[in-house]
Symmetry: C2
Subunit: 298 residues, 2 copies
Amino acid sequence: VLISKLGEFGLIERFRSSIKLDSTVIKGSGDDCAVIEFNRDRYLLFTCDMLVEDVDFLPGENPYLIGRKSLAVSISDIAACAGVPCYCAVSLGLPKNTTIGFADRLFRGMRDSARQFKINIVGGDLSRSKKLSIDVSMLGLVEKKFLVLRSTAKEGDTIFVTGTLGGSIRGKHLRFTPRVRQARFLVENFRVNSMIDISDGLAQDLSHILKASKKGALIYEGQIPLSRRAKGLKDALYSGEDFELLFTMPRKEADRLLRRKISIFRPIGEITAAQAGLRLVDKKGKERNIKPKGFCHF
Amino acid sequence: VLISKLGEFGLIERFRSSIKLDSTVIKGSGDDCAVIEFNRDRYLLFTCDMLVEDVDFLPGENPYLIGRKSLAVSISDIAACAGVPCYCAVSLGLPKNTTIGFADRLFRGMRDSARQFKINIVGGDLSRSKKLSIDVSMLGLVEKKFLVLRSTAKEGDTIFVTGTLGGSIRGKHLRFTPRVRQARFLVENFRVNSMIDISDGLAQDLSHILKASKKGALIYEGQIPLSRRAKGLKDALYSGEDFELLFTMPRKEADRLLRRKISIFRPIGEITAAQAGLRLVDKKGKERNIKPKGFCHF
């Protein structure tokens, strides 16, 4: 029986089951980052992401942008927990026929990404492999009072996204800037109840929040900010790799945020009771359930 | 121009150059682990290792043992810095045609390895990939007073190895137990000046210590403990994947260790001035230089 029968999330569930964690692990897998006790005031955030040729980028792609993206994906996970990225290690699987020029541009992309966010590249591993593959593991820090998880959305919360959604595959997925600054601005100035980064599409990632928080949601088609490159609502709901933030905050906090008129933060709906599931109000005011599907590896 | 022209270590050097590190990084890449400031008494150790099908294991191999090895390789790096492994994250690239049975056995190998060393598996990432690839990033802790690096061997130090060397490819590389207990025993009871794990062969890994410490070494063929599966001295010097410890300590400490008659620790030579390079005394008493070659990915 093939793993595709379980699907990506079923397979992850199977791996997680029967893993035992000690009390220094505040949150194991199942959020954007693992959360580990660090000191009195701060948690250590730990995440890793693997990019593979043909899946996360195409062979002809600009190696500088591949390098940049390989770090950006993990930085986005740290941002989703409201942390600051600090250290990373890079495991590289390179095909035998890689040129020095290609490797140099790949490295430059990684270093530029690291420099932009003041991240220390502290180590790595190099292997030969058939296809280019890059695994980045990232450590970040977050003040205990600022940590935001997926599992703590509250009924009545307003749901926000940053930026615009959809069509990322037509360019943005290689050029996005992880939303560290926006996440830090939010937690330093507002009470944020839950947060995730949108990597598998709005519908799926919102569903992760709903499942982890045991809540439902109502979102409004007319308020979902579409990217210029999106081919329509479906693209925004189901296509992956936006790497925007999706977060929820109490109504009062939301009003306070909205009064600041910062165009990057857009309200798209609200958290409801669990029974409702994930519902969409279309532009004609008609309400329907939407499926939590999105990009899936298996 | 292909990367094979630079070689594995040349390529790593190229990547490392122009990386800037802040003062919380005690040691970036270039040792078994990165060493990061953690708290008053302890450092955080951070390492990652990628295993790729056809390079680190063959397609027909027992998936349980592959899973076990994928963690063991990184645990061995933590041991080489005299630390205790604590947390790990696993990035998995799985081919589409992977069966649930295969995945289950792979996961069981990982979990058993983690349980044996009380390691928390706190996260991971799952991707589709052409060939099975596994990247494990591992965090460990070490008391500041116990940290041992490659770069601090002293002239006159006695050189030791644990266990036996050579022929690992004929089985042991999938079944070895990382030397955490031995490393901890050493630092808790003796002054150890330098340490590394032997992953690329004795000649190459000893050369890493010599280069980092700016020293030479004299080793005695008759004292190198050969594995039953080794095909001779060359196998012990140049074949990789032994995952034993190679360490040096002052003569007096060495004498103290030898009086304990613990058969797992074997003296094989001594650290000399840099000019001598790496020299071997053969069984007839003849001395010659040996090359620091070993397993190399490119």
